[in-house]
């Protein structure tokens, strides 16, 4: 027991006396690594690769960059404490990261209070740049609204009028559903939404949900399920013949994180957003892919792209600002342009949303694995509402 007491004492002493060592530019990173490891382990590999490349190229402003990474516990209360730790003890110049929407919003709110730049990497919620947008928060990934908008063309082309909707019952699923109904109704007169199923996240009773959808006799389905819910829904739907002759749209289902577990169960013909990593032939992606596979001997997931691009954003912002001063960084972030493996992105001055796009295509089976076919790249800038609408959504600074 003595050794444990000693260890605890040492840890406490460490908490009290740890002093920051500043010879580098410190960037604070926090994410729910233990809650969403399937997405975030590749994400971490992604940003580590980008960091290594940036420092190998001499860093920025003549200094190396150090990323201080923390697990945020997956809930807002702990995340805020972790962010405060990064700010007060580690004295980081800016924050980046977060995955679930409520954690992203809480950290964004803290960033606004403490007046520090926050680059939200992954949270999909529209609110982080619109309803609850603030001066210090910028978001990288294509939002729920944008990804839904990317699928609308497919929905319109299908010519289907009777839609069933299934979504995980929390903000992401609710927002996707609301955006889908609004956008589709605007383009297809007489469209009907015949049934809505909102299973709790991670707890779908897939058989019952599949039957309840069939019962309403729709001719198309819009789904925003992902992860275990998606896998269960696909298997039950396949067994019960739900998807025969049905047009199905599913947000995110083409992302390797969610597609790969489906293996031979992959439902062919579904229209999805995702990341067909093996087939993208742009120079910037090929370079990224080669470097990633060389370093990790593994293929990238979408999380890898998000992590990689987040550090690219930070590096570009520091370069443009020429300083680690928050106000200068915020000014630099507005309209910031840089390359990513998905091509050039711009952080819009109007709402701090990046124009990073996503790939839209159809699911198919190849050698017992799911792949995306007939895909195209949807540039994020084409899937945002008009500026006048955005201005109305976002509070004045």
């Amino acid at each position: 027991m003595k050794s444990i007491t000693k260890a605890i004492m040492l840890a406490l002493a460490g908490a009290v006396f740890a002093a920051p060592v500043a010879a580098q530019i410190k960037v604070g990173e926090l994410n729910s690594y233990k809650n969403f490891p399937a997405f975030l382990e590749p994400y971490k590999k992604g940003w580590e690769l980008a960091l290594e490349e940036a420092n190998a190229a001499g860093g920025v402003l003549g200094q190396k960059i150090e990323v201080v990474s923390r697990d945020d516990g997956g809930n807002p209360g702990d995340a805020v404490r972790v962010a405060e730790e990064l700010l007060t003890r580690e004295k980081v110049s800016l924050l980046m990261g977060t995955f679930p929407s409520h954690v992203g919003l809480a950290v964004s709110n803290l960033a606004n209070q403490r007046k520090v730049l926050f680059v939200a990497a992954e949270p999909l919620t529209d609110k982080i740049v619109w309803d609850n947008g603030n001066k210090y928060t910028f978001r990288l990934r294509a939002s729920t609204y944008m990804q839904t908008a990317m699928l609308i063309d497919g929905a319109v082309k299908s010519g289907k009028k009777r839609w069933a909707i299934v979504y995980p019952n929390y903000e992401y699923g609710q927002a996707a559903t609301a955006a889908f109904k609004k956008l589709l109704a605007a383009r297809v007169p007489g469209v009907e939404f015949v049934v809505e199923q909102a299973p709790p996240l991670g707890k779908i009773e897939a058989g019952a949900v599949a039957d309840a959808i069939a019962q309403a006799k729709p001719d198309a389905i819009f789904s925003s399920l992902f992860g275990p819910d998606l896998a269960k829904f696909v298997r039950e739907g396949n067994t019960r013949g739900l998807f025969k002759g049905m047009t199905v749209l599913n947000l995110l289902a083409g992302e390797p994180e969610y597609l790969d577990p489906l293996k031979d169960e992959t439902p062919e013909g579904w229209i999805v957003t995702g990341y067909p990593w093996a087939e993208i032939q742009t120079a910037e992606h090929k370079a990224f892919l080669a470097a990633y596979q060389k370093k990790y001997n593994d293929y990238p997931r979408l999380g890898s792209i998000v992590g990689y691009a987040t550090v690219q954003t930070v590096v570009a912002a520091l370069k443009k600002a020429g300083s680690t001063d928050t106000e200068k960084l915020v000014a630099a972030m507005k309209g910031l342009e840089h390359m990513t493996p998905f091509g050039k992105i711009t952080y819009r001055a109007i709402d701090h949303q990046s124009t990073m796009g996503a790939y839209v295509g159809k699911l198919a089976l190849k050698d017992g694995k799911g792949v995306m076919v007939d895909w195209t790249f949807a540039d994020g800038k084409d899937y945002l509402p008009p500026d006048s609408e955005v201005m109305k959504l976002r509070p004045k600074e």
Binding site: M1, I4, I8, A11, L12, G14, A15, V16, K34, P37, R70, D71, N75, P76, G77, V80, R81, E84, E85, T88, R89, H102, L105, A106, L110, Q113, T125, N169, Y170, E171, Q174, V195, E196, Q197, A198, P200, G202, K203, E205, A206, G207, A208, V209, D211, A212, Q215, A216, G227, P228, A231, K232, R235, T239, R240, G241, E257, P261, L262, K263, E265
Partner: protein, 626 residues
């Protein structure tokens, strides 16, 4: 819904109930005999899924015989794990105060989760379909999976087998006897140690088997433990503790109700739409609340006999010796002047410690002196926090006023729920608090327009005078210390004495004319207010609030803090809160697999200090002082 729709949803419900029944039966057996509230039961289920995934993926694709052998082998493997866990860990702490074993199983949950992550990786793993049962059969013109039909049969078959074991073997007779009166079984010369080991292994086997059966239906993934454990507890309690047929009935009932909620979908009535599909978020807890209010012992449970204490009864309270009073006063003074010396993160961390010390102390007041264990205490933390947040954001009420109004709101919530809660006792009481907490949670989660839904509310910061860290630190310190002292004072006051009398002997308390239920109701309301105060401070220190503050995980954190510090001490919860928060903060920063390390540290602490940390210290030093 047509008749065919109704039939198919009925079948869906029955299929979903089978594996839940197995898990719940195991949990019920373990609790009945050993009185262990096994939080790790969901983790054992998860292990069953993962092991069965690996086995069937490798060997179980060919023939039905191979597949079912793999499923059975996975169950046995989990049974062996349970066997080992009981011998190495639980057997050492049966003499600890009641519920203490819960802390050990909580440590196990953390360890198992990280071990699974390490061994199987982060991706979801969808297993193969069962050979020979890949397709669907036509039921009234609709396709229904063959495998689900088999599952429907598995439930009653396993019920029958368990019944045979319990009723037709000597071992089963002993298990039933121990469920009813384990002291008597011990007195009659039965080796309790092996009986407990056997029951724990059997319960683990059932959990593992329940998990293995799910492989063709759902992917192996890391949230299964949490998802399953609360459902399993609900089923056990709704069915009646220790009643296997009750668990079967409850599993069927909940499975079928869920399937029908999904089948019914949206219903228009009185100009609004009620979504039964969204109602599945909380339906099992609503069912549990209703059942417990109407039948306090569950559907098929019986009132338990008056339990004899296996652990030593709690010693009467004594005021602290003078040197300790001086010590605490000195500590308080040191904390007051601390900001002069450091502006660092330590202050931020200490605010969390203060808030959770108050929260844990309020829970301890219920668990210790009042003798009512709450599994849903975070509800009152959350109500206080949400009330304050809503008042600030929606009504512009200043923080100073919310410091009084937030606790008031929490107390009102506790007053309402407490009326039902104090009518029960023991684990039934604990589970009813959990049910109410989940209902409050689901309201916060679902009412987007008012509570912000799953995102919660943001932008709740203290006014200018308290916005600086130092000022807010002092505010939290003063209010939490005042709260702690008030709770302590109440415990020593006549009111506290009445509660302790009621805890130690309800019969005698009744005989001298104490209306115990009314006092317990008042105590429940009172601690609600203290938890609410902690909640208000919490929300202003974070600037935001989300439904997790009301969630099961927060309630469990509170239990862990109280037990870690020592439930039979008054300073225990404060020490427990401090140790838990510092440990979590330090370990999470230093190591990748922090959950496993935290779990191991908790297990080591459990083995080293079966009376809790403060209980241990008191045992060492007070005896020396006396």
């Amino acid at each position: 819904m047509t008749l065919a729709d109704i039939t198919i949803q009925l079948l869906n419900g029955l299929a979903g109930a089978s594996s839940l029944f197995l898990v719940a039966a195991g949990l019920s057996l373990i609790f009945g005999v050993t009185r262990i509230v096994n939080f790790a039961h969901g983790s054992l289920f998860m292990l069953g899924v993962y092991i069965a995934y690996s086995l069937t993926d490798q060997f179980g694709r060919g023939s039905p015989l191979a597949f079912w052998s793999c499923v059975l082998a996975a169950g046995v493997a989990v049974g062996v794990i349970g066997f080992v866990v009981e011998i190495l860990l639980l057997r050492r702490i049966y003499q600890a105060p009641e519920l203490f074993q819960l802390l050990a199983t909580f440590g196990l949950v953390l360890v198992i989760k990280d071990v699974v992550l390490k061994l199987w990786g982060p991706e979801d793993l969808l297993g193969p379909r069962a050979p020979g049962l890949r397709g669907a059969v036509q039921v009234m013109g609709k396709s229904f999976p063959e495998y689900d039909l088999v599952l429907i049969a598995v439930g009653p078959i396993m019920l029958g087998l368990i019944w045979l074991v319990l009723n037709r073997t000597r071992w089963g007779v002993l298990v039933r006897a121990a469920t009813q009166d384990r002291d008597m079984v011990g007195a009659l010369g039965v080796n309790q140690a092996w009986l407990f080991t056997g029951v724990f292994a059997l319960g683990s086997f059932l959990a593992g088997l329940g998990g293995a059966l799910q492989v063709p239906r759902e992917p192996a993934q890391l949230f299964l433990d949490i998802t399953v454990i609360s459902d399993a507890f609900v089923v056990v309690v709704v069915g009646g503790l220790g009643s296997i047929p009750g668990a079967f009935l409850a599993a069927l009932l909940i499975g079928v109700i869920k399937a029908f909620c999904i089948g019914i979908g949206d219903v228009q009535a009185f100009g609004t739409t009620f979504s039964f599909s969204k109602f599945t978020l909380v339906v099992e807890f609503v069912v549990m609340a209703i059942v417990l209010v109407i039948r306090p012992w569950g559907l098929l449970g019986k009132p338990a006999g008056e339990p004899r204490h296996t652990a030593a009864t709690e010693a009467p309270l004594k005021p602290l010796p003078g040197w300790l009073v001086l010590g605490f006063a000195g500590l308080g003074a040191a904390l007051l002047v601390l900001p002069v010396f450091t502006q660092s993160y330590l202050l931020i961390l200490l605010i969390d410690v203060f808030v959770f010390a108050l929260f844990a102390a309020s829970l301890h007041f219920l668990m210790g002196p009042a003798g009512m264990v709450s599994f849903g205490h975070a509800a009152y933390l959350g109500i206080g926090a949400y009330a304050a947040a809503l008042m600030v954001l929606r009504a512009g009420i200043p923080m100073e006023a919310t410091l009084a109004l937030g606790p008031l709101a929490a107390a009102l919530g506790a007053l309402l729920f407490g009326w039902f809660v104090v009518r029960l006792s023991g684990v039934y009481l604990a589970m009813l608090t959990l049910a109410f907490a989940q209902i409050v949670w689901s309201i916060a989660f679902q009412w987007d327009g008012f509570t912000g839904g799953s995102n919660g509310l943001i932008g709740i910061w203290p006014p200018a005078w308290a916005a600086e860290k130092e000022a807010f630190y002092h505010l939290s310190l003063v209010l939490c210390a005042a709260g702690l002292l008030a709770l302590r004072h109440i415990i020593f006051a006549p009111f506290g004495a009445i509660l302790r009398a009621g805890r130690d002997s309800p019969l005698r308390a009744d005989a001298i004319g104490i209306d115990l239920r009314r006092h317990q109701w008042f105590a429940f309301t009172l601690v609600g207010a203290f938890a609410g105060l902690a909640g208000v401070l919490h929300v202003f220190s974070k600037g935001s609030i989300s439904p997790e503050t009301l969630g099961i995980a927060r309630s469990v954190d509170g239990l862990v803090m109280v037990l870690l510090g020592g439930v039979q001490t008054l300073t225990g919860p404060v020490v427990g809160a401090g140790v838990f928060i510092f440990l979590q903060d330090e370990i999470a920063r230093r190591v990748e697999f922090w959950r496993a390390i935290l779990g191991l540290v908790i297990i080591v602490l459990v083995l080293a200090f079966p009376q809790g940390i403060v209980g241990f210290l008191r045992g060492r030093f007070m005896r020396a002082a006396a």
